[in-house]
């Protein structure tokens, strides 16, 4: 069986998408529509051609089989072995394409390549069941803690996300909580306290993902309205403040992953 899916980038030498040196594979197609997304080209599951603000024409998305992706990913195996790295599936929401994920992660595990998946936690649990056994690490996004606000900012419910997180914790999967921080949206104590609580309850390491404005070109090129046109990227100082806040709210120091 050779399921294809649409891939819009394969980024080698990724330092920020899990432990060690990794290759991040970006799948096109997402069930969320987060208003701050920095990969809006990932929303639709089909290839799209756009003209970027500087005039360059770019096509996002190319259909590939798991084997084709694996052939690229395996090239950096020496680097994974040395640094404790591997491959990370991201996007988009890779858990939608569970057949692809399953086949691809199977190939990776046959070849001793560490597998990680970045997921928003929303797809049905049966999707996750399809590839659980071959997944070493979950980079689990936690974006907005208030259920109504969550519906507003991502267009979907929070509850299924929390339930899937609980299930993953119960079967002892390795998880890192990835928390995008968007000034004015979720940088308040309510959300930060929820992060702390989740971290404590489930003993989860937390990685802060500070907002950066570099996505606005892509929103424009895709003809989408970007709510954060004028919001500048968070600085090192801003991030430090958030970290400090989390510590004050009681997060365990050893659970903080700095990026």
């Amino acid at each position: 069986m050779h399921v294809k899916t649409v891939i819009f980038d394969i980024q080698r030498n990724s330092f920020l998408d899990g432990p060690g040196i990794r290759t991040t594979v970006f799948l096109k197609g997402c069930c969320f529509r987060c208003k701050w997304c920095h990969n809006p080209e990932s929303f639709e599951p089909f290839p799209q051609t756009v003209t970027l603000p500087n005039g360059i024409k770019k096509t996002y998305g190319k259909e590939m089989t798991p084997q084709e992706v694996f052939d690229i990913v395996k090239q950096d195996k020496p680097f994974y072995d040395e640094s404790g790295g591997g491959v990370t599936l991201s996007g988009g929401e890779p858990a939608i394409f569970f057949d692809f994920v399953r086949e691809f992660f199977y190939l990776c595990s046959l070849n001793s390549i560490h597998t990680a998946i970045e997921t928003n936690g929303f797809p049905p649990w049966k999707n996750y069941e399809a590839f659980l056994d071959y997944t070493d690490l979950f980079l689990f996004d936690y974006k907005v803690s208030d259920p109504e606000a969550h519906k507003y900012w991502t267009l979907v419910d929070l509850n299924p996300v929390l339930e899937n997180l609980k299930r993953l914790v119960e079967i002892n999967k390795k998880i890192i909580l990835r928390c995008p921080v968007i000034p004015g949206v979720n940088d308040n104590d309510n959300h930060l306290s929820s992060i702390v609580e989740l971290s404590k309850t489930y003993r989860l390491p937390v990685q802060i993902m500070p907002f950066h404005s570099t996505a606005r070109d892509k929103w424009k090129a895709l003809g989408l309205v970007y709510q954060f046109e004028n919001l500048p990227s968070m600085t090192e100082e801003d991030v430090k403040k958030i970290i400090k806040r989390l510590k004050t709210l009681g997060i365990n120091d050893s659970y903080l992953i700095y990026c």
């Binding site: 080698r12 030498n13 060690g20 770019k58 680097f79 790295g85 993902m209 070109d217």
Partner: protein
């Protein structure tokens, strides 16, 4: 430069003479950007009397050793510069536009006389008539007798015969050699007629073991053992020269130090006049003075020489580490001020060090000095190996991460076996490998291997595509290797390229050997010969006595050729999308009117992306030029073995300026790929891919390669561990060398102006995908500012 380029690119309207003139101007502009020497030369106004004396002395003595002795005595006495008040070491030197050096300003050798400096000076109204007359007389004499002129003339008289063989149009090669006057346009194999003796690394350890009196005794000892009476003048000159060094160099500075109330320094100088050094300070002072008067431009393995002295001093409580650091810092300052661009190499580390523990102690001081000073000289290099001290390696990465560029890193695990194979020496001798100047290899104390020419591979391909003609000037430069219409297979094209390469390699190798012969006959380089095996044993000067006399050539643009051949193989011979003739037509039009074809060429696989289609071709082209050079081993007197090297300097810009558009998609006059690296910006798959590609290039085919890599500031600071892993894997996979620079705001600015050169810049954010060149200007500026902030 831009308006010049614009004029030149409107080629079709210019006559052939005008085209040549424009190209020459363009090239000269680019080449003049980087002089070798950095201290201003002594003015002719000051040096007329000295020059007259030197000229008189030159004519007085016929034996090369005696002549050198007498002239060295004159030159050194007159050119030693005084001790500055904040110097901890004695030893500074004025260079003049005439003198005696193994290598001067990249291109002169032996008794040299740089006419362009004189010409400049003579333009001034303050020069009197009688002075003018005297200088003209001297100029005429040295035009005949300067070593570089003799070498150039002798070599070219022989090479011209090759011209007849192929009916080439080399009508404009001048009769005499003058750096700035050689009409270099298209005559790249003439221009770099540098018959120099570049990069000799003396056995300073021997000097420090014996001291001056000990060396004199060694000389006398060998003298008494040598039955050949023709060597007497050589040995005698050595003794006299060492005595001169003791009394008139060390002695001179001893006196000056006393006069300036620098008591510590004067007593050190007094001690080392005859005796071997016993403290670190004494050792450093003796080594520095000897290196200074020998006028070699590169330093050598300081940690090996000075480590044991440091250890002893510390053990016996003579100094503290802080004292030692102060000494190193001070010497670093002096080396910077007295040093020459592209040289002043200090090499640390190495698998073969007998006392790595004490050497590492000293190496840490050197890296610290480098890190603090952050200057372009000395060029600190670290030879790493399995089991190297973690402290030393981390300190090196600290320095690099601060934007130092130094230390450059060499991988002994790969290089020692590679050098052993290439140089045909045993592993013990191979472990003496050191990079000189721009990264070419030589062996310390037993080998001369001077890179005396440039070898332009893209020009060879250009000639192969035009039946031996230069595409920019239309002159017949190389042999007739066939019309492209007749190249039915890729092998046919490669054979033509091979023929061109071999023809020019013959010129280069013969030029090299003849040049070195002239130098050998005229310049024994007495100071150097004392510290080189096997000169004392044989009773011969440097080039006649050294155990291995090899030579090398600096290739340029091998990656452009590889990428060009990949594209041709793919589009012409496999996909059959274009004929070779069409491609040549497109090149000749600088791609104007050939947009689709140009795009196709650009999108063919390129070296640096871990794509075997391109990388295998790069390996092939690399091995090929290495073997073409090696063909000349044992074929010529004064040349044991001949090597290609791929090094890094600014030459790829100058040589790109005289090279026509190439099938890798490069346009007329654009810079060639730098050294061993993917053409700027064409490695789009990221650092791991680039490192894997670089590691595929076999080390044993060439005598030195330089790999430039740019890392972001963050990678050394925030992600040190991961960066360490990256480099560790690169070296394990076969990487030979790493010259690491940190991406600067300048690079990002350049990426905004020339996005095609920075396709590889990836914006690093977690879970995010974008290339810098795809962003709008506003965002690029934002990232630029952020980087600026991080760097401060």
């Amino acid at each position: 430069m831009n308006t010049l380029l614009e004029r030149v690119t409107n080629y079709k309207d210019l006559s052939r003479e005008e085209k040549i003139k424009e190209l020459k101007e363009l090239e000269d502009r680019v080449v003049s950007m980087n002089p070798h020497h950095t201290k201003p030369l002594r003015s002719p106004a000051y040096e007329l009397e000295l020059c007259k004396k030197i000229t008189e002395t030159f004519q007085k003595y016929s034996h090369p050793a005696q002549r050198e002795l007498e002239i060295q005595k004159l030159l050194i006495t007159n050119r030693l510069d005084s001790i500055r008040s904040d110097d901890l070491f004695a030893g500074r030197f004025f260079d003049g536009f005439f003198g005696f050096m193994p290598e001067m300003s990249g291109s002169y050798v032996g008794y040299y006389f740089m006419e362009p400096y004189l010409d400049n000076y003579l333009k001034s109204d303050s020069v009197t008539e009688s002075e003018r007359k005297e200088w003209e007389r001297l100029r005429i004499f040295w035009r005949e007798n300067a070593t570089h002129n003799i070498a150039y003339r002798t070599a070219w008289n022989e090479i011209r015969q090759l011209k007849e063989k192929i009916n080439a149009e080399w009508n404009n090669i001048p009769e005499h050699y003058m750096l700035e006057d050689v009409s270099s346009v298209s005559f790249w194999f003439v221009k770099d007629t540098t018959n120099r003796v570049a990069g000799p690394y003396m056995n300073i350890k021997l000097l420090l073991e014996k001291g001056i009196k000990g060396l004199i005794d060694s000389v006398k000892n060998e003298w008494s053992k040598n039955p050949d009476t023709s060597t007497h003048i050589y040995y005698n000159s050595l003794v006299e020269l060492l005595e001169f060094f003791s009394n008139d160099v060390i002695g001179r500075y001893e006196k000056e130090a006393k006069e300036k109330n620098m008591d510590t320094l004067s007593s050190i100088l007094s001690k080392i006049k005859k005796d071997p050094p016993s403290t670190l300070y004494e050792a450093m002072q003796l080594a520095w003075l000897y290196i200074l008067v020998s006028r070699v431009l590169n330093i050598g393995r300081m940690d090996v020489w000075f480590g044991p002295f440091l250890a002893k001093d510390l053990k016996e409580n003579r100094i503290t580490l802080d004292d030692a650091q102060r000494l190193v810092d001070n010497l670093w300052k002096i080396m910077y001020e007295e040093g020459h661009n592209f040289n002043t190499r200090v090499i640390l580390g190495g698998k073969d060090r007998e006392d790595p523990h004490s050497a590492d102690m000293f190496a840490l001081l050197c890296i610290e000095a480098t890190r603090k000073a952050k200057r372009t000289r000395p060029q600190t290099t670290l030879r790493i190996y399995e089991g190297i001290s973690k402290e030393v390696l981390e300190k090196a990465y600290d320095a690099i991460g601060e934007g130092c560029t130094f230390p450059m890193i060499l991988n002994d695990e790969v290089n020692i076996p590679a050098v052993s194979k290439l140089f045909a020496v045993n592993e013990k001798e191979a472990a003496k490998y050191l990079p000189l100047g721009c990264g070419e290899f030589t062996l310390e104390g037993i080998n001369i291997c001077s890179p005396n020419s440039a070898f332009l591979l893209p020009k060879c391909l250009e000639y192969a595509l035009h039946n031996g003609k230069d595409a920019l000037t239309g002159l017949q430069m190389g042999p007739f290797t066939g019309n492209v219409e007749d190249f039915k297979s890729f092998e046919d094209l490669f054979n033509a390229y091979d023929k061109q390469a071999r023809f020019f390699m013959e010129i280069i190798a013969k030029k090299h050997a003849i040049g070195q012969k002239v130098v050998a006959e005229n310049c024994p380089f007495l100071f150097l010969s004392i510290l080189f095996d096997d000169c004392l044993k044989k009773g011969k000067g440097l080039l006649n006595g050294v155990r291995y006399l090899d030579g090398s050539t600096e290739t340029n643009g091998f990656v452009n050729v590889a990428d060009s051949l990949t594209a041709i193989k793919d589009l012409v011979y496999e996909k059959k999308k274009y004929s070779l003739k069409e491609i040549v037509k497109a090149l000749d039009s600088n791609f104007e009117g050939y947009d689709a074809l140009h795009k196709d060429l650009l999108s063919c696989p390129k070296f640096g992306n871990d794509d075997d289609r391109a990388d295998n071709m790069a390996v092939m082209v690399h091995n090929h030029v290495g073997s073409v050079a090696l063909e000349w081993k044992d074929k010529l007197p004064y040349l044991r073995r001949f090597y290609a090297t791929h090094v890094n300097n600014h030459a790829h810009i100058a040589f790109g300026a005289i090279t026509a558009a190439s099938p890798d998609g490069r346009k007329n006059h654009e810079p060639l790929a730098n050294g061993n690296n993917p053409t700027t910006g064409r490695d789009v798959n990221g650092t791991t891919a680039m490192l894997k590609s670089l590691a595929k290039i076999p080390a044993s085919s060439v005598a030195g390669m330089v790999q430039n890599m740019k890392f972001s500031f963050q990678m050394f600071y925030k992600y040190r561990e991961k960066t360490r892993s990256l480099l560790s894997v690169y070296f394990k996979l076969g990487g030979t060398q790493a010259m690491i620079t940190v991406v600067s705001p300048q690079d990002l600015k350049d990426a905004m102006e020339h996005p095609e050169r920075h396709q590889n810049l990836i914006v690093r954010v977690g879970g995010y995908s974008a290339r810098f060149v795809e962003l709008s200007r506003e965002l690029q500026i934002e990232i630029l500012n952020r980087t600026l902030n991080e760097c401060m």
